[in-house]
Symmetry: C2
């Protein structure tokens, strides 16, 4: 293991106020709850966090508040990848300064069809500009949404150029063959799988755990598998876990997870999403909640 983060990290859902501003106090309380409920760490400002719908200033103020509220920075891997290098540098430098365990770095994702050379240079530029030995980078590969991803060739160049800084990745490609190829090519690299569906397979190949949207609603159950992956019945535990994802699979993930939290807590404030995301309609909500309840 290269980095200090491992286990079950939640890409923390971001509660919003009615005026769409981030409900920061509620968010901090939720972060603490997730850690109490089984998460070994948190990845605020992931895709599931609607991070890309938050303004640069909002993200910086929230992270500052989270650490000030006593959540250990060492357990945090905030998402920092923006389209533009200066913005990514701002977020990354802040995370390093606060002592975050790592940062989760999307590649620059506006331009499509860019070269490996270009992606390598963009990441290198961020690392050089931050210029802080405390910076630990986890590359974030999520081509289904960002379209732009990290090839093995780019990872190899990054590991070679910045072995003390580029320590791991989150793979949300949904492509197990790709994730397996990363393990084969870079045995020392800290690979988090982006779906708890692959958690057992990830750990068996030497992976370090999962950063999974589902950790927002079933952190204890994912943690149980992480803690018991060597047990004789681990495959059965994975199968039981898979039922929860299967229950939400047919629905947009972020509204579905916010709906589960709203239902569980009785706090309808959880339903608020920032555009362009929208809530599930009533029929979908009831069907999804029934399936999720049946998965317990």
């Amino acid at each position: 293991m290269q980095g200090t983060l491992h286990g079950v990290l939640a890409p923390v859902l971001t509660p919003m106020n009615d005026d769409l501003s981030p409900a920061t106090e509620k968010w901090i309380a939720f972060c603490k709850q997730l850690l109490a409920d089984g998460c070994t760490g948190l990845a605020p400002f992931g895709t599931t966090s609607e991070a890309n719908s938050l303004g640069l200033d909002e993200r910086m103020a929230m992270l500052e508040a989270l650490v000030a509220a006593g959540v250990p920075a060492a357990k945090l891997m905030p998402g920092v990848g923006m389209c533009a290098i200066p913005d990514t540098v701002k977020l990354s430098a802040q995370a390093a300064r606060l002592g975050c365990g790592g940062v989760l770095l999307l590649p620059p994702f506006y331009y499509k069809g860019v070269s490996d050379e270009g992606i390598f240079r963009a990441v290198a530029e961020v690392i050089e500009r931050v210029g802080d030995a405390r910076l630990k980078v986890y590359v974030y590969n999520i081509p289904p949404i960002a379209v732009v991803g990290y090839s093995l060739a780019v990872i190899e160049r990054l590991l070679s150029a910045y072995p003390a800084t580029v320590v791991g990745m989150k793979d949300s490609s949904g492509d197990w063959a790709y994730q397996k190829s990363v393990f084969e090519a870079f045995p020392q690299f800290d690979v988090f799988t982006g779906s708890e569906r692959y958690l057992l397979a990830n750990l068996r190949l030497g992976g370090v755990g999962t950063i999974s949207a589902m950790a927002n609603v079933i952190p204890d159950k994912i943690r149980f598998l992480y803690d018991n992956y060597l047990a004789a019945n681990a495959d059965e535990v994975q199968e039981r876990l898979d039922r929860f994802r299967a229950a939400t699979r047919d629905y947009a993930a972020i509204p579905a997870l916010k709906q589960i939290l709203a239902t569980r807590t009785g706090d309808r404030g959880w339903l608020t999403l920032r555009p362009p995301l929208t809530s599930l309609d009533e029929g979908a909500t009831q069907a999804m909640l029934a399936k999720f309840a049946a998965a317990q």
Copy 2:
């Protein structure tokens, strides 16, 4: 026509210094040159401008400097569309305050597969938050790069809700059937075509002109067609114009255009690109320059 902008607008290339900072003085001089050479207006911070590689603060400082340097704000349609509403609001409010003729608004482009409802709400939220009657929005449809685009249904809702604010669009879909359907559905809407290749067709259907990357290098020639589109030989003028785009078609557009400017001006500083974009290699450069010279 709903808005005040029409004709030939350049999505202005952004010169960079060796340290990748924007070469603002050179950029301002280039903006003035483009207006002198035939552009009727400018669309700074378009895709071709590498706007999505510029930080939020950089964009705001550059626009402020451009207007302070005497370029009439009324001729400007800066790109303002970011992933997050608060950032888009900042850029849009600044443009409105400075008196820009319009703003070019990408839809929020990180999340994929979002609903029309979500895109409508995102744009509506920006307009409401800016809350400035001077704001004139041109929606920017460029699915080949942003992936997320504007459907006719979204445009219809925007025109109905904000008829005095949403005045037009730039269509860079590359899909003439789509652009034609916009003309048919919204005859009063100000449609700029994103490629001068469709300029004649655009004008014949009642369009207002083009915002074209090629206007960075052949503004006079595009302007000539705009001024003479009713002439008997207009088709022939369009065909002659098409040769320039054909010359660069096989190369990445932004590096190719920067290379043409570097060659023309003898200023190699024009070659600098921000990652993830990269320069053409030597072979491609020579081949492209030869084709471009032959198109004259």
